[in-house]
């Protein structure tokens, strides 16, 4: 009895102290350098996931992960490197547990985007078979997959269209999400509403961008931002889209054709060596879709304080429940691209300053990076926070013994071959 009362007093004191701390923090943040960010899930950007969930990491044979890295170390630097870094992070994280019975989430480290061409582009043709083989391995060696048929498992699939495992959108839609992953949580970079390849409950993450490369190129913040709109990249992909009109659904070409002579728009295909410095001297940075709607430009824009102008219909941006992207970026429909200059110049200065204040929040910048070594609030922690928000699991995911939901023979015939 007394123990309960002491506990009650203690909890009262701590809650009062926390309230006081919270108020102080609100008052101290009256300085207008930056502003707190709270998304639809609340003020969760700076949550600490440690203690809120436990993750068990399966030990797979090295042919699923390490062998690929040995074959091609470029996997650690390209924009799909999130899968490798999440694996390393979880191995060393305090949320990792060695006891699978108490784990909330199970992670399978399989590097599906590490099969690179000589140019460095990942080929997804073997990825479905590799994933299938990994799942059959974990289902035979541990009982936890069969318990829920993947309901409490999560996978990192950072490829163009996530678990659809193809780089062409039409093919990816035809294939759909790999049937075996139907019940699992997917951590992916692709996010588009009303699209087959974005499963409900997926966690959208930013593409990997090397943090040191960007953080070494900061210029003094007093350098005046004199470029109105900045963009560097392709407008026409003549190699893969010679007819025109397929790449970026014609949006990038529309940007070029409409604004190539507009002095307010600094857009070009020439990639300068001062790319990062120029972004810090720009107010708006265009982030149009390419072959897939996501791009590393969003990450770069956020790091360098350039307001992202997102031209991709129905896109789902990373950590959308933690970060209120409508308040931070400018969304332009693809059909409105010819009026882009009108849209941007008619934004009120107060709104622009507000967005810049939100972008200046260090928590925001931290959340976009996969920092090495890991820092509180970085992308890894946001993934864990997202997973923690999905807890506790719906009891319906637990299957009765003998009950099966997934059809292992589902899918194109080519996927069924063993790997």
């Amino acid at each position: 009895m007394t123990k309960d009362r002491r506990y009650g007093n203690f909890s009262l004191l701590t809650s009062f102290g926390l309230l006081l701390l919270f108020l102080c923090q609100q008052v101290s943040l009256a300085a207008v350098h930056h502003q707190r960010i709270s998304g639809s899930a609340g003020d969760v950007l700076e949550d600490n996931p440690v203690g809120r969930l436990k993750v068990f990491v399966y030990e797979l044979p090295s042919k699923y992960n390490k062998k690929w890295l040995e074959k091609d170390p470029r996997c650690l630097t390209h924009m799909f490197a999130a899968e490798e870094f999440v694996h390393d992070f979880l191995l060393a994280s305090p949320v990792r547990t060695m006891n699978p019975e108490e784990a909330d989430w199970f992670y399978t480290p399989v590097y599906t985007t590490c099969d690179l061409t000589p140019n460095g582009l990942p080929l997804p043709f073997k990825s479905p078979r590799m994933m299938r083989s990994a799942i059959s391995y974990i289902s035979t060696h541990w009982p936890f997959w069969n318990r829920t048929e993947g309901g409490d498992h999560f996978f990192v699939v950072p490829h163009d269209f996530g678990a659809c495992f193809h780089y062409q959108e039409e093919k990816a839609i035809e294939r759909g999400v790999l049937p075996l992953l139907k019940r699992s949580t997917l951590v992916q970079t692709f996010g588009q509403n009303h699209h087959v390849c974005l499963k409900e409950g997926s966690i959208v993450v930013p593409p990997y961008a090397p943090p040191e490369k960007m953080q070494s190129r900061f210029i003094p913040p007093s350098t005046p931002r004199s470029i109105f709109v900045y963009f560097r990249g392709l407008f026409y992909d003549v190699g893969n889209d010679p007819e025109g009109g397929y790449y970026a659904r014609g949006a990038r070409a529309a940007v070029w054709e409409n604004f190539k002579d507009n002095p307010l728009f600094d857009i070009s295909t020439q990639h300068p060596s001062t790319y990062y410095e120029d972004m810090q001297r720009a107010i708006f940075c265009l982030c149009p879709l390419g072959w897939a709607p996501w791009s590393p430009r969003l990450v770069e824009g956020v790091i360098f304080g350039c307001i992202p102008v997102i031209i991709a219909d129905d896109i789902v941006l990373p950590f959308a429940d933690a970060i209120p992207w409508e308040k931070i970026g400018v969304f332009v429909a693809e059909k409105d691209v010819p009026n882009l200059d009108k849209i941007l110049s008619l934004i009120s200065p107060e709104e622009v300053l507000e967005k810049q204040r939100l972008l200046a929040n260090p928590a925001m910048k931290q959340a976009m990076l996969f920092s090495q070594p890991t820092l509180p609030g970085d992308a890894f922690h946001q993934i864990l926070n997202g997973l923690a928000r999905k807890l506790p699991h719906d009891p319906q995911i637990y299957l009765k013994p003998g009950q099966t939901v997934l059809n292992w023979t589902e899918g194109p015939a080519g996927d069924l071959k063993p790997w």
Binding site: T117, N119, G120, L123, D160, Y167, Q168, E169, K171, I173, E174, N193, H194, H195, V196, P207, P220, P221, S222, T223, R225, F228, G233, L234, N240, P242, E243, G244, G245, A248, R249, G250, A253, A254, E257, N258, N262, L264, H271, I283, L289, G290, W291, A292, W294, D313, D314, P338, N339, D341, K342, S345, L346, P349, L353, Q356, P412, A413, G414, D415
Partner: protein
């Protein structure tokens, strides 16, 4: 080059797609429609061959033609790649599903479809496929929107200055010497706008040679500075450059005397009107303790310029000699002449860079210029106003007192560098003189050139009188002898004389007339 995500198809794969239907079938299609009529296969082959010949997806265009009658679109023009006509986007997948049914029934061959069930099953709302490139008919930006954008930029920069800008904001005292002349409007307007944009309080002391005039006052009225002092100096500006320099030195000292008597606070900057200032110059000047020095770049005569003489000589070389084409267009490295402090690797002042002009072909300028430019200019130095105050006890001992340096006994012009007893105490600004924040534009109209008052012409110009009798010597430009005329042009003895050589008398009227027509090359 930065690539968007996914723009990495191996081109081998994609190149197969150019030939119509057959390549779209990959190994994992398992839903082929079993009942394909022979007619459809035939039409499919014809379209294939047509695509191979023409070079684009014929079937897509055919479908477009059908679809274009169903979809009237709005005012944007559509454009596809280089070879196409216009194309309309195919429309939502959901109504596509219905149309698929009816069009397969009507005209199956015009529709590219091999996995009908899977496409119907997809829930995609944004189309996959070809889209139009929307271009608006009037491409130019609306001027109102451009002004809005510039207001936005200005507001953002103001906010940046408030948040991150230099917190030190000592007022600036700018001392300028001027006099009424043709280029006064050019120089003074530029300086006026620069000083109006300096974010701290500016006191602008304008010393005018020849007394205060209305014309200068007219220009100065547009300045938006904290305080404007328009003072007159008795003597008119002399014509010679050396004398001008001396008079300007006296006028600046007069301005400093004003600062001294009024006990003004701030940083004294010698803003010559022929200088181009960067706003960073005024930020950098804030860092001075007592005396600062920085670099000034020189425009208007840099080492790369060549004279008209040498260029003509090159033309001749090119025409006569062979293989010397590169002479005329050879790249000359532009070495901007910079005058100012120079440091060693630790950042301590070790010396001064002084402008040393290259001699011209004609030795006309060297005499005059050299004498003027063997020492540092006043704009190279930035002073704390307290350095010239009366209370000499508060100044460090390496600054001479006013009487010692400002009024030299031998009657020569005062020099700002004479304020220092010890050169090493000068604070070197602008990244040890490496950053040039200040440019001296050495361009001036002739001393006797006339200009209308306030540059406003009430009447039309009727007579143009050439300016005469200036102390600046003319650079005689010899007209180059023209290339020898072609043989068929002139007949007779006249051709041998060449152009420009008018022979008067001599042969007779006919030849004289022929001569008198100059040969225009």
């Amino acid at each position: 080059m930065k690539k968007a995500a996914g723009s990495h198809r191996p081109t081998r794969m994609r190149s197969k797609n150019r030939s119509g239907f057959s390549s779209d079938q990959t190994s994992d299609t398992a839903f082929r429609s079993t009942s394909i009529s022979f007619f459809r296969i035939f039409i499919q082959c014809m379209f294939c061959i047509g695509t191979l010949i023409v070079g684009f997806r014929f079937t897509r265009e055919a479908h477009f033609l059908r679809a274009s009658f169903h979809h009237p679109e709005d005012s944007f023009s559509r454009r596809t790649g280089a070879r196409m006509g216009s194309l309309v986007s195919i429309g939502n997948r959901s109504d596509l599903d219905l149309r698929i049914q009816e069009e397969i029934a009507n005209d199956p061959e015009a529709f590219r479809l091999e996995n009908s069930e899977t496409i119907i099953r997809s829930r995609v709302r944004v189309d996959v496929g070809r889209h139009a490139i929307l271009i608006r008919p009037w491409p130019h930006p609306d001027p109102f929107e451009v002004i809005q954008a510039h207001h936005l930029i200005a507001r953002v920069q103001m906010e940046q200055w408030q948040l991150y800008g230099s917190k030190e904001s000592k007022p600036i005292i700018a001392i300028t010497t001027t006099f009424v002349r043709s280029f006064q409007a050019v120089h003074l307007t530029g300086l006026l706008h620069t000083l109006s944009l300096v974010p701290v309080h500016v006191t602008w002391i304008v010393m005018e040679a020849g007394g205060v005039t209305n014309e200068t006052a007219y220009f100065l009225s547009k300045a938006r500075v904290h305080r404007l002092l328009h003072l007159g100096f008795g003597d008119a500006m002399p014509a010679g450059l050396k004398e001008r320099g001396q008079l300007e030195a006296h006028m600046r000292v007069e301005g400093l005397r004003y600062v001294r008597e009024e006990k003004m606070e701030g940083i004294v900057v010698f803003a010559d009107e022929s200088n181009l200032h960067s706003l960073d110059f005024f930020t950098e000047a804030q860092k001075v303790d007592w005396v600062g020095a920085l670099s000034i770049g020189l425009l208007g005569f840099a080492g790369f310029e060549e004279t008209a003489q040498s260029r003509i000589a090159d033309v001749h070389q090119e025409e006569v000699g062979a293989g010397r084409r590169d002479n005329l267009f050879s790249r000359r490295t532009f070495e901007p002449q910079v005058q100012g402090p120079s440091c060693d690797s630790e950042g301590n002042l070790v010396g001064w860079h002084i402008f040393d002009p290259l001699p011209l072909e004609e030795e006309v300028y060297t005499g005059i210029m050299l004498a003027q430019n063997r020492r540092l200019e006043w704009p190279n130095f930035v002073l704390n106003a307290r350095a010239v105050w009366k209370t000499e006890g508060n100044q460090p001992e390496w600054i001479k007192s006013w009487d010692e340096w400002a009024t030299p006994k031998d009657g020569s012009a005062p020099d700002i560098k004479a304020i220092l007893r010890d050169d090493k105490q000068v604070k070197v600004l602008g990244d040890c003189g490496r950053k040039v924040l200040l440019w001296w534009l050495r361009a001036e109209a002739r001393a006797d050139s006339r200009h209308p008052a306030n540059w406003v012409l009430d009447e039309n110009l009727e007579i143009i009188v050439p300016a005469k009798s200036t102390p600046w010597p003319d650079r005689p430009v010899r007209v180059p002898p023209p290339p020898p005329p072609p043989a068929a042009a002139t007949v007779g003895t006249g051709s041998k004389r060449g152009a420009g050589s008018r022979v008067s008398g001599g042969k007779g009227r006919r030849s004289k007339r022929r001569q008198s027509r100059p040969n225009i090359s």
